[in-house]
Amino acid sequence: MSNNIIEIKNLVKKFGRFTAVNSISFGIREGEILGFLGPNGAGKTTTIKMIMGLINITEGEIIVDGMDIVTHRKKIKDKLGYMSQKFSLYPKLNARENVEFFAGISGLSRDKVNNKIAELKEIIHPDIIEKSVENLPPGIKQKVALFASLIPDPEILLLDEPTSGVDPKMRRNFWQDIYELKKIGKTILVTTHNIDEVEYADRIVILHRGNIIVEGEPANLVREYDVDSVETLFKEAVKKNERD
């Protein structure tokens, strides 16, 4: 048996007559960074939301750490951390208050909440920590959002377009943070439509119109498909799928 911490089998999601996810199967290995790629509307967010149990699945199976999402939704949620593309912070609250809120709803004790705030102060300048989040630059928002998603100390991190709207420098910094998380054993699923980011992932899955069109390790894929880069591979695979 594989050491997949998340196993997705023949997963289907239909919204009325529209099929958003069309019978996809893939796995995420424990401790790896999986890049989940695809253009807008490919079904990435829908898949992530099904893994989190926020959307019912139409058909198929999602097994997280040996548990089925349908029967063990609550237990699975405890293992997951989530960061959405909109960062989902409260704009009128400052960074500290946002962290206090997310720590509060995660059921952390007052001492632990204070520890978290102390940790936050190490990564964000004290001058900025008391500013409303709406006035912070996207890069800082992104840092705070990632920090917030880590508050319940999840084993698995689901990051939905975490780098959208962030400048290249901050994106690189962000990926360094992700690497640090991998080093301490977190499993990370990152969705993105910035193809240049796939070099950071251990493996990639390319989704297009609800179907998986490519899956594998970036370097191997480039060799296998005989292309100069993953970007080219992505473009060609998408084009081919559109023709089919």
């Binding site: 939301k49 989190m52 149990g53 019912n56 997951l80 959405s84 989902s88 997310f102 709803i105 917030a148």
Partner: protein, 372 residues
């Protein structure tokens, strides 16, 4: 000029293919026409009257008969002559059980026979100034018809009317407490409905959903926060009512605030229920405004007395929270009523808020399970 056609065509297509807007544009006017033209009228059909007949004579019985044998008046309260203490009737007037009291003096029959002038006393609840005016006119009309059956008593029978609770029949006394009821429900419902639909739009609700926090904790937590805001709004309106419009606040403010709390809670729960059903902030806001303002103004007794509504609408008024709060706020502010005077209304409102918060938590848990 060639540009006009494509614009017109596009606009027509757009509006005709948008069922939600169409419903509002077509259904609202139809609904309003029916409400005004059919179901609501300014004619009062059901004036609840208490009668103290101190005379107990054939002649007084005849006068009582004149009042009761028509579609306008209904006898409420102790049977005639059963309890002659005017206080018992005044309590009923305070609690809104009756709209007016008619008092026939003990020497009514004797004085008429001897052609000595005699006063027929009326005490009218003035808290609804419109209704009070109409009742006054009906009293006159019926007395005239009574007089018409005798010869030459026009000068003898005199009407003496006292207006309680709003002696000058100022319409602001009637409107301000009413508008407080409408605004408080609207503001409370808007607070929660916008809060939840905003979280739905920004996606922050997903983070709450995957956290271990219980659904009822989310709902109660939000509700408590907004109770403070709604209370502040209410205090401002009450201060304006008292010091700007000079409306006397006769009753106990603590009682009023206690029931406001229940009413606000009802509004906040209603807002949550609406926001769960609405796909975005805009719909949530429109829906909240529509659901809270329109029925509260039209069907709660704010403008039209409930007794003048058609049967279906009268029944509908029973499920509108403003109906009950309006009675309470008018009773407390204008009549100085105490809890016992509106216990039933208070209990119904409490029950409504419990049912609504229960629905809100249920719907929220359901949304949490199948968001999307």
């Amino acid at each position: 000029m060639k540009g006009i056609k494509p614009i017109t065509r596009k606009e027509l297509h757009h509006i005709l293919r948008d069922p939600k807007s169409l419903i509002i544009i077509f259904m609202m006017p139809v609904f309003m026409v029916f409400i005004y033209g059919y179901a609501i009228s300014f004619d009062l059909n059901n004036i609840n009257i208490g009668i103290v007949d101190n005379s107990g004579s054939d002649l007084s019985a005849k006068l009582v008969g004149k009042f009761l044998n028509n579609k306008y008046f209904t006898l409420v309260g102790p049977q005639i002559n059963e309890d002659r203490s005017i206080e018992a009737y005044e309590r009923r007037l305070k609690s809104g059980e009756i709209d007016e009291i008619m008092i026939i003096p003990h020497d009514f029959s004797k004085k008429i026979k001897n052609r000595i002038p005699v006063d027929i006393g009326f005490v009218i609840d003035g808290s609804d100034s419109n209704t009070a005016n109409i009742i006054y006119q009906y009293n006159e009309m019926i007395l005239f018809s009574f007089i018409g059956e005798f010869q030459n008593i026009e000068d003898i029978l005199q009407i003496k009317t006292k207006i309680y609770f709003n002696p000058e029949l100022k319409s602001t006394y009637f409107f301000i407490p009413g508008i407080i009821a409408v605004l408080l429900l609207m503001v409370s419902a808007l607070l929660t409905s916008l809060s939840i639909s905003r979280e739905k739009e920004t996606g922050s609700i997903d983070l709450i959903f995957i956290s271990p926090i219980k659904s009822y904790e989310i709902i109660i937590g939000k509700t408590i926060a907004y109770i403070f805001v709604a209370f502040a709004v209410e205090s401002i309106i009450l201060l304006l009512a008292r010091f700007w419009f000079g409306i006397p606040i006769e009753g106990n403010l603590i009682v009023l605030f206690a029931f406001s709390l229940i009413y606000i809670f009802t509004g906040l729960s209603l807002g949550i229920v609406i926001s769960i059903a609405a796909p975005d902030q805009k719909t949530s806001m429109l829906g909240t405004l529509l659901i809270t303002i329109l029925p509260s103004i039209m069907l709660s007794g704010f403008i039209f007395p409930i007794t003048s509504l058609g049967e279906v609408l009268r029944w509908t008024s029973n499920i509108i929270p403003a109906t009950y709060f309006l009675k309470i706020i008018r009773s407390v502010v204008l009549k100085g009523a105490s809890i016992s005077d509106f216990l039933v209304d208070g209990l119904i409102l409490t029950l409504m808020s419990i049912v609504l918060i229960f629905i809100a938590v249920k719907k929220f848990s359901k949304l949490r399970k199948i968001a999307g």
